[in-house]
């Protein structure tokens, strides 16, 4: 079965991310599922950036331990990747800047000939890639014309030079997969939110969710959508409170450091019951850590962030498809149950690009507002069996709608009376049950692999694709809780029923899901950790799984 990997490397500023995406689109057109990993340090120009595009005839989301093609725009692209380069690897390189085996292309000269700017070097090397890989030039033309809106002619011209400058070294066969959209995790989240009825997005830039801000800012005009980038994260979440109070379905995005600044108002949403949806992209911590690398070490922080006790929804999708689905769910349920929700993702998912092979879910309908007996007697925090009170927004003639961060009565007026305090607390806590009923209707625990195998790979978030693949190879069971709060204890126990050995894979040091499993009496036999900021490549993880399986 065809399973190819292409590394594109160069300096920051060489347009490596775009080049990698184009390579992915070439495979998309050729009939493959694709996945692209993007690796970059925290700098703007220079250094070493690279992408790895992998293409196969099954959905994928992980890189491998070998590379079939290297497209080298700098020396590091060859030197730093010797561990995955073999003598079978086909290398094309910019002969002006790189010394290597393989086929050199004098990009500099071609750019001059075409009067093209240096940043078009990536088009040239993509042309060369098509040449060595036996990809027909029309396929490249098709992809360029869709993906490069500006300067198409010139890009095609330099690509053609590259194409012609090399000789075909292999011929990538056509695959059988229908071309699909390629979505980064950030884009998938954005689309999920839009499907859920998003009306406003507020964020302060922070890796790995900045690109969600950029994506929605770009999309804002046509919906229309209110996109705001305020002075800091505190302002971000408070604007979201105001927008929600005003009736606008709103999401906000950040990473751990920014989320810290939001915790106080996150807790406020536990009390004032404004539906707040946070896209929380994990990266390597603690603190500034490795800002452009990945990690799964914020789960317990998110589970407990903010003083006091209140129900919250936490979903942790594992790839772009799940990101679309669960982001929509998060926005919808947050509003339905008037609880804060977190879409907990990480750099690997946010900045990875996946083929979207599932159909889009249906758009959320505008839920009718729950009834309130009469507007004149409207009480924002009316005590109900479900704990969910009717929601109205100003202006509502005849009603004074009072949102309150203090302990309050049904009207939203502050109270310190013990019995009322308890009644209102219990009203709010009942929403946990209501929310649980909703999530029980959903595939809160995703399963795969051999569903009755005695060995289980347990994972969460962006390690889903790599674990899925290994589970299939090893004929293991694959279990991924997608909802982490309210914790789907029964569903998870059911998914694990009959398991003799559970191997948990996490990109952290202390075992975040493991702690949560322990709390719920779910045993884990082995835990595999990684905490250098890099996602698990397929073979490496497979080996580590085999060691303990």
């Amino acid at each position: 079965m065809t399973d190819l990997s292409v590394l594109v490397g160069g300096k920051a500023g060489d347009g490596i991310n775009s080049a990698g995406l184009i390579v992915s689109h070439l495979f998309n057109q050729l009939g493959y599922y694709t996945y692209m990993y993007y690796d970059y340090p925290s700098l703007i120009k220079g250094g070493h950036n690279y992408t790895i595009t992998r293409a196969a005839e099954r959905p994928i989301g992980a890189t491998r331990d070998r590379i079939d093609f290297v497209l080298a725009l700098n020396q590091d692209s060859v030197d730093l990747h010797q561990d995955i380069i073999s003598d079978k690897t086909i290398i094309v390189y910019d002969s002006y800047r790189v010394k290597s085996g393989g086929q050199g292309v004098d990009i500099n000269a071609f750019l001059k000939e075409e009067g093209a700017p240096p940043v078009m070097g990536n088009s040239c090397i993509i042309g060369a890639f098509a040449g060595v890989a036996g990809i027909p030039f029309p396929v490249l033309e098709e992809v360029f014309s869709r993906q490069i809106p500006k300067g198409l002619e010139k890009n095609l011209a330099v690509a053609r030079k590259g194409f012609l400058a090399v000789r075909e070294a292999t011929k990538i066969p056509r695959g059988s997969v229908k071309p699909s959209s390629l979505l980064s995790g950030n884009e998938a989240i954005g689309i999920g939110l839009l499907l859920g009825g998003l009306e406003a997005y507020v964020a302060y830039p922070m890796t790995p969710t900045s690109n969600l801000l950029h994506f929605l800012a770009g999309a804002a005009e046509q919906f229309p959508l209110t996109v705001v980038h305020p002075e800091n994260e505190i302002s971000v979440i408070l604007m979201a409170h105001g927008l929600a109070y005003g009736g606008k379905k709103t999401a906000i995005g950040t990473s751990g450091g920014g989320f810290c600044l939001m915790t106080e108002s996150f807790s406020m949403s536990g009390m004032n019951e404004e539906p707040i949806v946070v896209v929380m992209g994990q990266r390597t911590g603690p603190s500034t850590g490795l800002p452009t690398y990945t990690g799964q070490s914020d789960l317990h922080f998110i589970l407990h962030a903010g003083q006091g006790e209140f129900p919250r929804l936490i979903v942790a999708p594992g790839d772009s498809g799940q990101a679309v689905f669960w982001s929509q769910v998060a926005l919808s349920l947050s509003w339905k149950c008037q609880v804060p929700a977190v879409i907990l993702v990480d750099k690997t998912l946010c900045e990875g690009t996946f083929s979207l092979w599932e159909d889009l879910p249906r758009m959320t309908d505008e839920g009718d507002l729950p009834d309130s007996p009469s507007v004149a007697s409207y009480r924002r925090y009316a005590i109900t069996g479900s704990g969910v009170s009717p929601l109205r927004f100003p202006p509502t003639p005849g009603a004074a709608i009072k949102s309150n961060s203090y302990s309050h009565d049904e009207n939203g007026v502050t109270t310190e009376l013990p019995d009322l305090v308890v009644a209102m607390m219990e009203k709010r806590l009942r929403k946990m049950e209501t929310l649980k009923k909703e999530t029980d209707l959903l595939p809160a625990v995703n399963t795969g692999g051999e569903k009755t195998a005695e060995k289980t790979l347990l994972c969460w978030g962006s390690t889903l694709p790599v674990c899925s693949e290994i589970a299939e190879m090893e004929r293991f069971r694959l279990v991924q809780p997608v909802i982490l709060s309210p914790f789907p204890e029964e569903a998870l126990k059911q998914a694990l029923a009959g398991t003799k050995k559970t191997i948990l894979v996490e990109e952290n040091a202390l075992g975040q899901l493991q702690m949560l499993c322990a709390r719920h009496g779910i045993p884990v036999d082995h835990a595999i950790h990684r905490y250098d900021g890099r996602p698990f490549p397929l073979e490496e993880l497979r080996m580590r799984v085999r060691e303990v399986a």
Partner: protein
Amino acid sequence: MASRNLITDTQNTWCPGCGNFSIQFALRDAIKGLVNEGVPLENIVLVTGIGCHAKMADYLDINSFYSIHGRTLPVATGIKLANPELTVLCCAGDGDAYAEGMDHTIFAAKRNTDITLIVHNNRVYGLTTGQYTPTSPLGYRGRSTPKGTVEEPFNPLTLMLASGAGFVARGTSRKLPQLKDLIGKGLRHRGFAFIDVLQICATYFNKSELYDTRGYELAGHDTGDFDAAWRRASEWGYDRDAPIGFGVFYQKERPVFEEHFPAAKPTREKRADGIRMLIDERR
């Protein structure tokens, strides 16, 4: 509607003699004024921080968002973005607006969101028992500074002028009619309106005498002249003895923030089309 009594029956727990009562009356009357002009009462939203002042949210029978300490303005901005038709005002403390949430105050002025900010400037943290704030005079003895503060106060008026505020005024809880008038003007100003209210804290910092004897009403002052506003606002630095002007120091309209954002909800069709386009672009 206009006849609704705007005061809730919640028990009031301000200290006897507290300046907050005057502000409450001035605010209620100013709101009544708006309602009489045809603004539907349900279109008015009050946002408060946390502190003595903030109890206004419980005491006024209007839409309110009782926020957390220091965080009135970003909530108010969100509300304006959600619905620019609403009249949004904030009651904040000096601890709220000048310490915990100073940055928001500057950015609200910069953005020129159409919000009226009333700062109940009693120059202490009232509700946490009278510690110094950024506008307490040098040497103020509070429980966190028993030997007296070592910091000079700043002048919120000049800070707001420097931040681009288009309406800068100062009132006092000692002069009720003028205060009502100032709040009314602030509410009618299209854009960010800043009103520093020198409020008496009967318990911790009762400066009635100072405000009564040194206070004067701005007269013959050109509110369109920035330099004149600056000079007037600089007269008293919240510290040394000097005449204390009350009135509108500066007023100038410029485009408001929220008018740059879509007001309409996207239709289901528009949303579906947009999503389809985004998906197609990535194919």
